[in-house]
């Protein structure tokens, strides 16, 4: 069994505090990049509807590449370290965020965009003040999916010297230290659950505030 003593010991020996910071650092950069790119792609394919299908199909193909394979594919381009891992996160996360942004923008009731135009909003203002805010609950749903993806991919990053909690797991496996594997695994899982719960809360708030359906 895991005693407090064992946990504290593993925690210190494997520098888990530092690894957690690395982990969350990679994760946040990846998520922020994903949101920026994903929302932009979503808005773009909404404004140029002809591009929507090809873009979404392409992202779907990216999505089917196994995560480890994707990281390895990115290695020659981005070298060892956090680069490939962050890039892989982003590549996976664009689809859910872009797709939800696109669906969200499309499902805003015509009535509201019509009124926005009629009271004198320019197309850009209508997008920024009406369509995007009204799509926020759906966009948040996409971000939440991306968040779960990223937690997984960042953990895998340990295999390609990206640092983070994945490194602890990998060391544990190589040195065959069951305790280290268990502590790092549980801690990674707990972090993911906490972050997802937090995101779920935000999503719910957005639904209450902006949701009309």
């Amino acid at each position: 069994m895991l005693s407090i003593q064992v946990i504290a010991d593993v925690w210190d020996r494997h520098l888990i505090t530092m690894r957690t910071i690395e982990h969350l650092h990679m994760f946040s950069i990846a998520l922020i990049l994903s949101i920026i790119i994903g929302v932009s792609v979503g808005v773009f394919i909404y404004m140029k509807p002809k591009t929507a299908n090809p873009v979404l199909n392409f992202l779907n193909i990216v999505e089917t590449i196994p995560d480890l394979a994707l990281i390895v594919l990115l290695l020659p381009i981005l070298k060892l370290g956090a680069g490939p891992t962050i890039a892989a996160c982003v590549l996976y996360s664009i689809l859910p965020i872009a797709r939800n942004t696109y669906t969200g923008l499309k499902s805003v009731d015509e009535q509201y965009t019509y009124v926005a135009q009629a009271i004198g909003l320019s197309p850009r203002e209508a997008l920024m003040k009406v369509r995007i805010p009204m799509s926020l609950p759906l966009i948040a749903g996409g971000i939440r999916i991306a968040l779960v993806f990223c937690m997984g991919v960042v953990t895998l990053g340990g295999l390609v010297a990206a640092g983070g909690l994945g490194t602890v797991l990998q060391n544990g496996i190589q040195l065959y230290q069951k305790d280290a594997i268990l502590v790092a695994g549980l801690w990674t899982g707990l972090l993911a659950v906490l972050l997802d719960g937090f995101a779920g809360m935000i999503e719910k708030k957005l639904h209450e505030r902006y949701g009309t359906w």
Binding site: Q111, Y112, Y114, V115, A116, Q117, A118, I119, G120, L121, S122, E125, K129, V130, P133, M134, L136, R209, Y210, T212
Partner: protein, 375 residues
């Protein structure tokens, strides 16, 4: 970006040879019409006759295929559409308040985009809410879904006034409301109209609304203008059968002398009833839920009078009971003559009365300005 005003007041709006087609069908056909600055012009006609299309060509939400629309001599084609629309207040039937914005944000949206000073916007929003009889402290920070239909419609009106436009376009603004609520908002709107003294183009399918509000009425049919003129002219000199039908659809004017209260009343519904022991604040919430402007206070079976939500909101914090606040209201019998009932109401300045069948309320009689003119 602060958009310059296109016009400070409307001298005239001219439709010249306007045609709009959808496929092979004409939505509007060779329309010539002048709207005179300062008037309230009604567009009325059967469904599909081209009213909405006509209205929307003024602010370029629809572009005509042929002809020109000029405002003060400026062809709207030469005006930037965004700038044009910020100079024109627009109100529609389904209101279209943005659900993710508070009432304050909804009303202040265009002023904010125009980068007006925060304080000024706040002041403006308060003034406008006061103007449409919604206490600002109570409503500023609510979301549209927390308001009743009538209250939302008032906010829609306030939003249209935010930029103080010299011209308003209104497309069946009271169309979705029940008849009594509609009457109340019309009455209030009339007051607003006289106060703001702006040019208004108003689409409706309700001839009473048209006759009460309109300075002139334009009757449309199948995309064409059939007749335009002041109410009396349409009533006494209809250009054709259709006009005669529209202005006097129930043949009320011809049978004025034999018309009974029961022919004109709206049915009484339980939702209008409030208990005498209810407190004012609770009544405000209850009336908001039931979408009522006016309610009738009963103590058991006995009618005590009427209360209006506008008054109740003022005395919200004092915990008074409705029994103390109810104002007297006239009652009539179903078989009373309309002429008698309406002139009684006019004399006391009331616009609502209850129709009682012995002891039971069976209807609500709303004063009818048009009929009154003919008495």
């Amino acid at each position: 970006m602060q958009t310059e005003r296109l016009f400070d007041r409307i001298e005239s709006i001219q439709f010249k040879g306007i045609t709009k087609k959808y496929g092979e069908g004409f939505a509007v056909k060779e329309l010539d019409l002048e709207i005179i600055g300062g008037e309230l012009l009604i567009l009325i006609g059967p469904s599909g006759s081209g009213k909405t299309t006509t209205l929307r060509m003024i602010n370029r939400m629809i572009e005509q295929d042929e002809g020109s629309v000029t405002i003060n001599g400026i062809d709207t084609k030469d005006a930037d559409p965004v700038r044009l629309r910020r100079n024109i207040g627009y109100v529609i039937q389904n209101i279209g308040l943005f659900p993710h914005m508070t009432i304050r944000e909804n009303i202040g949206l265009v002023p904010k985009i125009e980068k007006q000073n925060k304080k000024d916007i706040e002041e403006r929003v308060k003034t406008l809410l006061d103007f449409v009889s919604l206490p600002p402290e109570m409503f500023m920070n609510r979301y549209p879904k927390q308001l009743s239909g009538g209250q939302q419609q008032r906010v829609g009106l306030a939003r249209a006034m935010a930029m103080d436009p010299p011209l308003f376009l209104m497309d069946e603004p009271f169309g979705a409301l029940d008849p009594i609520l509609r009457k109340q908002l019309q009455k209030e709107f009339l007051k607003i109209k006289n106060e703001i003294n702006r040019t208004i183009v108003f689409v409706t399918h309700d001839i009473e609304e048209a006759l009460v509000l309109g300075d002139r009425i334009a009757i449309m049919d199948q995309g064409e203008l059939v007749q335009v003129g002041p109410p009396e002219e349409l009533i006494f000199n209809p250009a054709n059968e259709l006009v005669a039908d529209i202005v006097d659809n129930q043949r009320k004017f011809k049978h004025m002398d034999t018309l009974k209260v029961k022919d004109l009343m709206s049915p009484f519904e339980d939702k209008y009833v409030l208990e005498a022991k209810m407190e004012a604040c609770d009544a405000v919430d209850e009336m908001t839920d039931r979408d009522l402007e006016t309610a009738f206070v009963f103590e058991g079976d006995e009618l005590l009078g009427q209360v209006e939500i506008v008054d109740l909101m003022k005395c919200r914090d004092r915990g008074e009971k409705l029994s103390e606040l109810a104002k007297p209201i006239k009652t009539f019998q179903p078989m009373d003559s309309v002429a008698f009932a309406l002139s009684e109401m006019k004399n006391s300045g009331e616009y609502l009365a209850i129709v009682m069948n012995s002891k039971h309320p069976v209807g609500i009689l709303v004063s009818d300005e048009v009929l009154l003119k003919l008495i």
